[in-house]
Amino acid sequence: MSNLENLSDQELLELEDRLLLLDEVPSGVYIQERRWKGGRPLIFLLTIPLWVLLLKGIAALNLNPRRESNPLLIIPYLGSLFVAMLLAMWIWKLIGLRARTALRAMLHYWPVTLYLGLSLLRFVR
């Protein structure tokens, strides 16, 4: 870490992004418990609509035409949640350094985001 000072601003930005990504998107086969660092909350927020979409897709497949409560249906239910999480992480990785940095900054300066959002809402109304 001694040569951190020698890195350029851009290199530092990329290093910070890489380190945060390690926490945001687990690399192992299991999901590590890492606090809500960086963009973690946004990944979870993104997971919810993706999960809803996947559940709608599963419902359209009509796996349970007789509408019986089949305990095995928990498998596609939880499976879709897992897939939604993976998809959200994949999207997070895909959006690129600039978008990730901007979104993380929005989250880090959450009082400013909240204040500007509420002010905008007040102007629109």
Binding site: M1, L19, Y109, Y115
Partner: protein, 263 residues
Amino acid sequence: MSTQAAWSAYRRRKRLLTIRSLTHYRDHFYGKRDSWAHPVLRFLLVCFFSAVLLGLLSKPLRWLDPISSTLLGASALFLAVELADELWFRIYASLERATTTLGAALALLMIAGVLAIGLFPDAMMPALHGLSEDVSSRFEAWRDEKNAKLGRIRKTPKISKDPIALRGKNWVLSADDTHQRASGFVEAERECEAMGAGWGLPKLEDLSRLEPRPPLTQPLRIWLQDGSGTQLGPTPELTGREIFSAKPQEAMAFLCFRKGENE
């Protein structure tokens, strides 16, 4: 140094500190993580500084036109986050140092304790034994007290508000205006005996002789004469189905029963 350069230098320093805090646990304690208290503390710091700055600027925020006041408010909140970050990095550095120092002190204390037990077993063992007994008895007393308190809350289902309904020809159910009341065994026994000759806590077989049946909507645990507990239910089938042992300090409802003249 121009403002632009100062700002760049500030951002760079902050980024370096962030990278150091991100790599610290990976480098030194791989597998361990920062405490959950850290983000909470950081959140509280941000809230504190935001409140202070917005409080200081509350008057200008009201005077200015909407766009200027929004910009001023947003800048104040930005500054609040920056102040919280700055303070947090200082706290984090002190925490790191304190953890290392405390860890070493704790290790030394443990080594000294083991050495003391090893060198002077006759002096240390009775003291340790007494300490553990003291701690366990205190813990048990505390647990019993908490259980009794919880029991009083949990075992107080609502029953009829009509006071007449809490009294039959040969029974009285412990109750106040709105709730059934729970008591320990000794207290229940004393209260029933104070009602007069022939009154006392019921035996199991007495529960089938209640006239009329108590108007309960859900089962209730009550004391029996021998210090055990049973269930008083809305129907005879749900009453006295099982007897369970209970500690005298446990809190249960009680039903006082008057024995017939020929008993």
